[in-house]
């Protein structure tokens, strides 16, 4: 059976496990219909011109994992940012793992989507925010149809969350092939500040496909720093759909570090619904083999006096492929918009590919919008310069790449996170030097 048909028929089974007499389920019902009509995106869709899901969709994925597998913290510790105190929301094969997690209801809610969707005390938040800003595209709708589990984070007014929150999704390989559809909702109210780290990690070589949806709401003067660490193994693929709505004077940044996985597609969407909003989206992609990473971004400037900053760096080796499609939409009312976009790429091999496409649609007349993309190779003269000073080829190459990514790395605000990323990059490049750039 094709995956699409399997999913549509699985929906009936899914209905046995959820409360079908709820507003939420009406939404799910609507969503599965949309998905059934649209099917999976193909290269015929303009937005998917350079990314084919064909190879990823061919597996016979289990949609509901049957058995549960307990993980020991010591076995998965290295996937956490473990050298600091954090809240943790951890899922194993799509199911919440209470013993790996550290949630809270003390002033803030750092807990589970499944209980937020069911318990009445969360109802006002769910009704106000759940599924409010997502796109009508097939993958988001598919996730909505099966939305049940994920992270639920609600930060009320004036809270400076004392430590970062980690959201981790493990897959164990209990199933021959597994499809996961986590659904996260993050609501940050006025004047509050939160830092979140998200990671998807497969612990096996069995194929895993994750279709994740995250909705983030930043109210007035809220600050949200979101970090996505994508360093999964060769058989794991991820479609990450993230939607951010910002109210006036809020600041929201999303950093995406893509170092591993078979195929990654990031759909990152920002909607600015207030004045003096700052939206920052940055990324470092370092891949090789036949890996594929696609960044598809949208900033919708709706109100005046707002800013957006995009800075994506990519380093592609072997036969890897990168895609950057950055859309900036400035409405007529959004005067005095400052929108910057940069996408810089280095190709390390003749067979690596990058498709980069800035897309600016500007209807206001008093704005500053800039975009630039570059594609290049490592500079030979810089290599010789460094090597003549005693720095070996591999290290010289690494130093150049660190320097290249430094603009993105330098804006990571959690020192332990920054250190981890630096280490991951060094590992990726096969060098053992702690450049303190």
């Amino acid at each position: 059976m094709e995956l699409k048909d399997k999913l549509v028929s699985s929906f009936l089974v899914f209905e046995n496990h959820v409360n079908v007499d709820s507003k939420i389920h009406d939404i799910r019902n609507e969503a599965i219909k949309t998905f059934e009509n649209l099917g999976f995106p193909s290269k015929r869709d303009e937005d998917w011109k350079y990314t084919s899901l064909k190879g990823v969709l061919k597996h016979d994925y289990s949609v509901f994992p049957k058995q549960e597998k307990a993980l020991e913290y010591k076995d998965v510790k290295r996937y956490f940012i473990h050298d600091m105190d954090t809240y943790k929301i951890v899922f194993v094969d799509g199911k919440f793992s209470s013993h790996l997690s550290e949630t809270t209801h003390d002033k803030i809610d750092v807990c589970l989507m499944s209980s937020a969707l069911e318990k009445s005390k969360y109802k006002p938040i769910i009704e106000n925010y759940f599924n409010k800003i997502v796109a009508k595209d097939s993958l988001t709708q598919l996730n909505t149809a099966f939305s049940r589990e994920g992270a639920y984070i609600h930060i009320p007014k004036n809270q400076l969350v004392d430590k970062p929150i980690q959201i981790l999704h493990f897959s164990t390989g209990n199933e021959a092939a597994l499809m996961l559809q986590p659904r996260n909702l993050i609501v940050v109210e006025e004047n509050s500040h939160v830092q979140i780290i998200e990671r998807h990690q497969s612990l096996t070589d069995n194929p895993v496909l994750t279709n994740s949806v995250t909705e983030i709401f930043a109210s007035k003067r809220a600050i949200v720093d979101y970090y996505k660490l994508q360093n999964d193994n060769q058989e794991a693929s991820l479609v990450d759909n993230t939607y951010v709505e910002q109210k006036s004077e809020s600041f929201c940044s999303v950093h995406t570090f893509s170092f591993g996985g078979k195929l990654i597609r990031n759909n990152l969407n920002f909607f600015q619904k207030g004045e003096r909003v700052d939206s920052t989206m940055k990324g470092i992609t370092i891949i090789g083999d036949k890996q594929h990473v696609d960044h598809n971004t949208l900033v919708h400037h709706i109100e005046p006096n707002c800013e957006s900053h995009q800075d994506y760096k990519g380093i592609f080796g072997d036969k890897s492929t990168g895609v950057f499609n950055g859309k900036v939409l400035v409405e007529k009312e959004a005067q005095k918009t400052n929108a910057f976009q940069a996408n810089n790429n280095i190709l390390l091999s003749d067979k690596a590919t990058i498709n980069t496409k800035p897309q600016l649609e500007i209807f206001a007349d008093d704005v500053k919008c800039s975009h630039g993309c570059t594609i290049g190779q490592l500079d030979d003269s810089a290599m010789f310069y460094m090597r003549s000073r005693g720095i070996p080829k591999k290290e010289a190459k690494a130093l150049l790449m660190f320097a290249f990514s430094n603009n993105v790395l330098s804006s990571v605000k959690i020192p332990q996170m920054k250190q981890r990323i630096t280490k991951l990059i060094a590992n990726k490049l096969g060098v053992n030097i702690g450049f303190d750039l």
Binding site: A382, F384, S388, R389, G390, F402, N406, I433
Partner: protein, 250 residues
């Protein structure tokens, strides 16, 4: 220390060095002069191991060992240093971090431990002072937006930090005003000892007023056509290169 025998080298099938012979002993300063396009910079690059050049014939012997098969970094680990005519800009890497990496990688290559951070800082401070380099300068990205003089001073600063046995200064005087020239030359002179050697590549005699050579060689059309003492440099300054060309072509 360095013996070059009948060295022929080409780039993209264009023959540039056509039989160079040169011997440099510890404690000596050699100047290599010559008109544009005579092969001076090529010689410097070939000694330091730039891969773009094809060595067709001849030997480059350092401390009794033929170094032709060694990479640029391995030659650096054996004490070869090239001060670039055009130092490369490396945005995102500060002067300090670059030199720290260079020193520790060199030490690694020599089988030594990393230099303790305290010693490193002390050395950086000492050498920066020698070259009259401001502390703020050290945290700037390497060569990015540096003036010509700053770039050259930074090259000699790196030389002072790395303490090479064989330093090759490729047109270090170009782009320097008289004050910077004095500072740079003073730096080089302070680093000179009976155990190391310097090859100064230059068009003009003015640098040689400050860094006084034991020998002067004239490179023309890929060969050393004349060698002498520092007086030869004065003669070249006075009469130009035409008489050499005539002598060679006669």
């Amino acid at each position: 220390m360095l013996k070059i025998k009948n060295l022929h080298a080409s780039v993209e099938d264009k023959s540039i060095l056509k039989g160079i012979n040169l011997e440099v002993k510890a404690g000596e300063v050699h100047a290599i002069m010559g008109p544009n396009g005579s092969g001076k910079s090529t010689l410097a690059s070939v000694i330091s191991g730039k891969e773009d050049y094809e060595v067709e014939k001849g030997e480059i012997i350092l401390h009794g060992e033929d170094i032709q098969e060694l990479s640029a970094e391995e030659r650096a680990h054996k004490g070869v240093f090239l001060s670039f005519q055009y130092p490369v800009e490396i945005p995102g890497v500060s002067v300090t971090n670059f030199i720290k990496t260079a020193i520790n990688e060199t030490r690694k290559g020599q089988g030594l431990e990393d230099m303790p951070a305290k010693d490193m800082l002390k050395k950086i401070r000492e050498k920066a002072e020698l070259l009259e380099i401001d502390r703020k300068f050290l945290s700037r990205p390497l060569n990015e937006g540096f003036s010509g003089g700053e770039k050259k001073r930074n090259e000699i600063f790196q030389m002072a930090m790395l303490e090479p046995q064989l330093a090759i200064l490729d047109e270090t005087d170009s782009g320097l005003d008289i004050d910077a020239l004095r500072i740079v030359a003073n730096g080089v002179n302070k680093l000179k000892s009976k155990d190391n050697a310097v090859i100064v590549i230059t068009h003009y005699q003015r640098l040689l007023d400050h860094i006084v050579p034991d020998y002067v060689h004239v490179l023309y059309n890929g060969k050393i056509v004349k060698s002498g003492t520092k007086e030869l440099a004065f003669e070249l300054e006075e009469k130009g290169y035409d008489w050499i060309k005539e002598e060679v072509n006669a």
